[in-house]
């Protein structure tokens, strides 16, 4: 293997590639809309949004690597945010931070247990339970908009949003690299039967993955409600739309997994997506055009990065 080939497989290359992609999009939109896009202040705002979604993306990563999927992320965010507001009224910051994490973990636990016990597709399980979580958020709010008190909005802005997000990223990276959970997440995703034969309790670690996803979605809810300051309960699976922004970061994490730092890829990936969205906003492009171009660019980046082996089975 030549030195260049080795470099192309290295962590540094993966990181440089991500930064290069981000720079290219920034440069394109900065050229097209120099006044309304991409100055330092705006970049900070883009990052603020990216951090929120990246935290959820970290949670989804555990599930997506293993193979199942979680369609209840959106409903979880809504429910956790609503509970966060309610609890902050009673317990201050402790309620704001810990209540959504607990709700997230419980939602993840329920998702995981139902998925394991019923032995049906995770898509169906989590979509079905989303209706339940949406209904719970309606009960909690009486279908009214809930607003976070002005004295509890520190996590909506720097530096506390960054600190909380960094805590979540470090936690995710730590679990993946320095605990059995990380190893087993990849092992189950690679070959469940072999993993089982190696003594891995597959069902247990699948539930753990759902719980971790819930925990990170809970943290995302803290950032979401702190940044947006209000939340309205949703019904008829309207919360599904909230599944996709974190998922985009997860795609980046999966695509850059081979470089050994999925968390970094999730964060920079979300930032790239924000650059795209905000770039189109700056250009005044209609939302439909924004969605089309963003979707195509996301597919292009992931396809180019993964470079699937010809003939390999892709599911």
């Amino acid at each position: 293997m030549s030195k260049f080939q080795k470099f192309k497989q290295s962590q540094v290359f993966g990181l440089l590639l991500l930064i290069f992609i981000a720079f290219v999009f920034w440069a394109i939109f900065k050229t097209l809309a120099p006044e309304t896009f991409g100055d330092f202040n705006r970049l900070q705002t883009y990052l603020k949004t990216a951090l929120i979604y990246a935290v959820g993306g970290c949670g989804l990563y555990f599930i997506c690597v293993m193979g199942p999927f979680d369609m209840s992320v959106g409903a979880n965010i809504v429910l956790s945010s609503v509970i966060a507001v309610k609890m902050s009224n009673s317990f201050g910051y402790a309620g704001l931070i810990f209540a959504p994490m607990i709700v997230g973990v419980l939602v993840g636990l329920l998702n995981g247990l139902v998925y394991i016990k019923l032995r049906i597709s995770s898509l169906i399980v989590t979509a079905g339970l989303s209706l339940v979580y949406e209904a719970l958020s309606i009960f909690a709010t009486n279908e009214k908009n809930v607003i976070l008190g002005t004295s509890y909005r520190a996590f909506g802005d720097y530096p506390w949003n960054l600190i909380l997000a960094l805590f979540a990223f470090c936690l995710c990276g730590f679990i993946l690299k320095y605990t059995k959970i990380g190893t087993y997440t990849y092992a189950i995703g690679s070959n469940e039967v072999v993993a089982k034969n190696m003594g891995v309790n597959v069902d247990k670690y699948k539930v753990v993955a759902f719980v971790l996803c819930g925990l990170f979605v809970g943290i995302e809810a803290v950032l979401t409600i702190s940044y947006g300051t209000s939340m309205t309960s949703e019904s008829n699976l309207a919360s599904m739309a909230r599944n996709f922004p974190p998922l985009m970061g997860t795609f980046f994490g999966l695509a850059f997994k081979k470089y050994g730092h999925p968390v970094v890829a999730i964060v920079i990936g979300e930032f790239i997506i924000q650059l795209l969205f905000q770039g189109f906003v700056a250009l005044g492009a209609p939302t439909t055009v924004q969605n089309i171009v963003t979707g195509i660019v996301l597919l292009a980046i992931v396809t180019m990065t993964i470079k699937p082996v010809k003939g390999a089975v892709v599911k």
């Binding site: 497989q9 690597v65 690299k177 320095y178 605990t179 059995k180 990380g182 190893t183 990849y186 092992a187 995703g189 690679s190 070959n191 072999v194 993993a195 089982k196 034969n197 190696m198 003594g199 891995v200 997994k257 081979k258 010809k310 003939g311």
Partner: protein
């Protein structure tokens, strides 16, 4: 006689109505390589799987050094002193080499829930170095290594903790020369340390050469144990199948004229990194054997001719001028292909025998554009029975069949399709002697009926015994060609391979 190391007492295992192991009682001694042989489906792998924790026995008891072994899974088996190297790939993509070696044993490197990755990597590298595999880096993703290197990593994984019992289950068929040498070295070391190797292989010469003792199972029942030094392959065949096996294993005809009619022509076939400017002409009623070392490119030739290669250059043309560039065209024009990688490339493992046999023949099975389940069942039963497939019925899932019976289903599928050109890659890999004889007989009958066969094989005896013409490949190119002759020797072929 040395001491008994492992005693198996009345081990019994059923899969549904199939009695896979029938109260087998057997002793394994310290300091021996103990081969376990039998036909496909005789219960060898099931027996060792029960020992190592892959399956759970229904009844009976394994006693290792006087202590009962009751492994819940492979890692639990490791802690109880037993380990297994399996035939198919047993490492996991997405994990590093070190993580694979210590999968399930992370607790050895974990304190307060935190895994010491550096210590794990260091230990894994020390182990790899001690086996002489220092070109394998413990920190690398295992995906960076080829099949054979991954098998070597599995050898380290299964043996580094010096298990009292090491099971080598049909592993040699998956290895090239280098891998086999390494594996045999480890087996001998295990024996010399006073431990025991249970060696499963269908290659009877290899079994006699490598083992000290041989036990025979037939239909899940223990038959006999013999000393390797006292038996010949023919003795073992007799024990395995329960009757005298004739020696007309291979074709006995020589000098038969092969038709001049070319049915398939491959010209200047090139697949980057696999084959380089390879050409071939297959005649009606001819068996062409393609041989060489494992990585010589011969396996890719089968795919290239079947239209299954990616980035293939060159042409594959039938007698009527049809160009074969994709699999559908190949099947539509009566070409069949059985891959070496049965589980991943030939069979739909999570489907029934019936569906697997009927798959390429669905168009023919339609009546008034409608498929009838009864017709499919009759069709599948006919060809599964023709191949003497051991099964509960055609509704049985493929995953429950032994390796040899899976191969029978692959062949049944193409016999059912009545293909005129058949490409068989390693058709007798992991197959017992009786089925081997059946397959050779089938190939001979097909040849006589005007069918043309390309047989890709790593077994020289098979090439010499069955082919009208033998093409030897080296580094992706043809390095030699031989016509069928009585005085053709294995050394002639080997000289062109290396």
């Amino acid at each position: 006689m040395s001491e008994i190391l492992l005693h198996a007492e009345k081990i019994d295992k059923n899969f549904g109505v199939t009695h896979a192991i029938d109260h087998v009682t057997l002793d394994f001694y310290k300091g021996e390589i103990h081969a376990l042989i039998g036909e496909n489906g005789s219960g060898k792998s099931t027996f060792t799987s029960c020992l190592t924790g892959i399956y759970h026995k229904d009844s009976g008891e394994f006693t290792l050094n006087g202590t009962e072994v009751n492994a819940r899974n492979q890692v639990d088996g490791n802690y109880q002193g037993v380990a297994i190297i399996v035939q198919e790939i047993g490492t996991l993509s997405g994990l590093s080499v070190a993580e694979n070696i210590f999968l399930g044993k992370e607790d050895e490197f974990t304190k307060c829930g935190v895994k010491n990755t550096n210590a794990m990597n260091k230990k894994a590298q020390e182990l790899l170095d001690s086996y002489g595999f220092n070109y394998i880096k413990a920190t690398d993703l295992i995906d960076n290594y080829n099949f054979e290197d991954r098998k070597l990593i599995e050898i380290v994984k299964a043996t580094h903790f010096k298990p009292q019992i090491l099971v080598v289950d049909e592993t040699t068929t998956a290895l090239g020369e280098k891998g086999r040498i390494e594996l045999f070295k480890v087996m001998k070391q295990t024996r010399d340390d006073g431990r025991c190797v249970i060696f499963i292989s269908h290659d009877l010469e290899e079994v006699i050469e490598q083992s000290d003792t041989i036990s025979v199972l037939r239909d899940g029942v223990y038959i006999d144990t013999v000393k390797s030094a006292d038996v010949t392959p023919d003795d073992l065949k007799k024990l395995m199948v329960g009757r005298e096996m004739s020696n007309d294993y291979y074709r006995t005809d020589y000098g038969e004229r092969v038709s001049d009619e070319v049915v398939l022509r491959g010209e200047h076939l090139t697949v980057p990194g696999e084959i380089d400017d390879f050409s071939i002409e297959l005649h009606k009623g001819e068996i062409i054997g393609i041989g060489g070392l494992s990585e010589c490119g011969m396996h890719e030739v089968g795919k290239a001719l079947f239209g299954a290669s990616y980035d293939r250059k060159g042409t594959v043309t039938l007698a009527d001028g049809t160009q074969i560039n994709d699999i559908k065209t190949a099947i539509d024009h009566s070409i069949a292909y059985a891959s070496k990688d049965r589980d991943n490339e030939s069979l739909v493992i999570n489907d029934t025998i019936q569906d697997n046999i009927c798959l390429p023949s669905l168009e023919e099975l339609k009546k008034n554009h409608i498929l009838h389940a009864k017709d499919q069942k009759v069709f599948a039963e006919k060809y599964a029975k023709q191949m003497s497939t051991k099964m509960e019925g055609v509704h049985q899932f493929m995953s429950a069949l032994s390796g040899g019976n899976k191969q029978k289903v692959v062949l049944a599928r193409w016999i059912g399709k009545d293909s005129d050109i058949v490409i068989l890659d390693s058709p007798t890999r992991g197959i017992d002697v009786k089925v081997k004889a059946d397959i050779y007989q089938l190939m001979d009958t097909m040849r006589k009926n005007g069918k043309s066969i390309i047989m890709i094989s790593e077994e020289i005896a098979e090439l010499l015994g069955m082919a009208d013409r033998i093409i030897i490949m080296k580094d992706g190119r043809q390095s030699g060609e031989f016509k069928r002759a009585e005085d053709l020797k294995d050394t002639d072929l080997i000289a062109e391979m290396v």
